[in-house]
Symmetry: C2
Subunit: 333 residues, 2 copies
């Protein structure tokens, strides 16, 4: 069994980093509720606790990491500004925190990101630069801007401060489960670059070693599932499509993958139809607006990807930024 004492020191983030991040960001974030629905419990024959990060500021957990990173900028860095590349939620989060701190922000987003996310970043006063997700290299665009302006790059996941911020989801989750007097059999969080699930796993495995931590991924972007199976970073084949706009990376993160390989019990892979069903169930029984990527952990349970009978399982519903057309599609599917 994995215990905290065996955690390699080379990992980019530790429980202590996450605890310090929590102290730092606590006044700025929402302590999102851990919700429960009797109807959902009945449906799954298990006790399902839902960490509603869709209710976080800017509608996703990404606010935590961005907040932890930007609060540590030096005065001169604050003046030079920040640059972030993001499929959407990290863009919203970074631009919102930057606005609060009076820091100029350039955000590089795919041109096919949901309108709500692009408009949200612009509403936060960010300079939004759109790129072609299939042709352009967003990291190169970011590096170019940083080179010209001296702006600090705020990466979406491969950054210790970002990962520590996201890990505060796991810290709160364990605290809230303890307050209910329950021990979690498993925790599931969606994975794209893997920052959220790496941070959550670091916190959960340190505080509740008997709890299994799983990632959740959409079919076609299941690089983590395959990488965990092979023990080395695997890439996704080009051209895959998924309604989970927030979960589309090419390969696991450099800093996140070693942590995920060490801690995770696996990654559960779901279809677009599984995701739509989970969005509808979250609407119906939890009264939550959840975006496709955010619904993946619940989708995995509803699709029977894990035997949960009689167990207590926490799922992180990581975001709620979804265009109305997509949400209506899920409700009427």
């Amino acid at each position: 069994m994995t215990t905290i004492s065996t955690t390699p020191d080379v990992f980019a983030v530790s429980l202590s980093d996450i605890q310090q991040a929590h102290e730092r960001i606590r006044p700025h974030i929402v302590r999102t509720p851990l919700l429960e629905s009797a109807a959902l419990n009945d449906l799954l024959g298990a006790r399902i606790l839902v960490k509603a990060e869709s209710l976080q500021n800017t509608g996703a957990f990404k606010f935590r990491g961005a907040c932890n990173r930007l609060l540590q900028l030096s005065p001169s860095q604050k003046q030079a500004g920040v640059v972030a590349f993001s499929s959407g939620n990290h863009a919203l989060a970074t631009s919102a925190v930057a606005r609060t701190l009076g820091v100029p922000a350039s955000i590089i987003m795919p041109a096919d990101a949901p309108k709500a996310k692009i408009e949200g970043a612009r509403a936060n006063g960010a300079n939004v630069i759109l790129y072609d997700r299939l042709k352009d290299d967003r990291e190169a665009i970011g590096a170019e801007i940083a080179g010209k302006t001296g702006a600090v790059i705020v990466p979406p996941y491969d950054d210790p401060d970002i990962m520590a911020g996201q890990g505060t989801v796991g810290l709160e989750l364990v605290e809230q489960a303890q307050a209910l007097g329950v021990t979690l059999d498993a925790v599931i969080a969606a994975s794209s670059g893997g920052g959220l699930v790496a941070g959550v796993a670091t916190a959960v495995k340190a505080l509740s070693p008997q709890t299994a931590v799983y990632a959740g991924e959409p079919a076609g972007f299941d690089e983590l599932a395959r990488s965990l199976a092979s023990g080395q970073p695997e890439s996704n084949a080009p051209g895959a499509q998924s309604i989970c706009d927030a979960l589309q990376v090419v390969r696991p993160g450099k800093l996140t993958f070693p942590i995920n390989l060490h801690f995770l019990a696996g990654s559960l892979v779901v279809s677009d139809d599984d995701v739509r069903r989970a969005m509808k169930i979250a609407y119906q029984h939890l009264k939550l607006v959840v975006e496709p990527g955010g619904a993946v952990p619940l989708a995995a349970l509803l699709a029977g990807k894990l035997d949960v009978t009689g167990k207590t399982i926490a799922v992180v519903l990581s975001g709620g930024n979804v265009d109305a057309a997509m949400f209506v599609d899920a409700l009427t599917a």
Copy 2:
């Protein structure tokens, strides 16, 4: 100015009743979060704090009152069971609490209540009896069942324990605002029979006398607005229609009206279109599923029914039980 010292002793509920109710129900309810959206604040030029009672157990504040009432049943009353008449949310709440306590429940609901509410009460194991809202007298049906079976009637609003339970929304709201270091200029909660807003007003005016408390009502069912204006209970004209299925009564409650007349600064009346817009805004900026009746306070702000510029206002979004067709209609309006 109204202060606590002038509160007539004849009122059905006091701050102390509400505090005792909170102690009693606290282990069973969700302490719903007080949420905030920078985008919504920008839109209204005010600081808007949202008490998300849609996230309460069974999707509405009604769980609080039912819980407070049923926890005080004697052993023989528990055996005889309960009977409730309700447009839906009180049905869901009473049946859910009854199920938890092993109490048989008969629920009398209008045949045109949202399917989600009728099915939810049935899923909770209640004996659901449908009636015609325009022809039948639900109180008479309830009294008949109670007479036959010895079941305890659990009224939707005109009951001191129910009102005290609903008042815990106001208690939490003031505590949560104080934790943020803010003094509320106003609080708005929807009114049907007036139990929620009477309970909220009792708590808020006792703990924060400078805060103005308003009701919110749909056009056609604005009996409280007119009753506050005339100083006596006024009835709604028959035949009115509103998408706010939860807010359709004929006249103000007997126990709730004296309290509302004493404490409320007014009742803000909104149209169905105002309500649809508020549901969409709650979806977009708060990631909350809010039912028509629950969206009325936000609708009042968005429709400019109160001058909120530069102020700090709390709105209670009181429920989230809405059929998908109605929700889709609001998102695509």
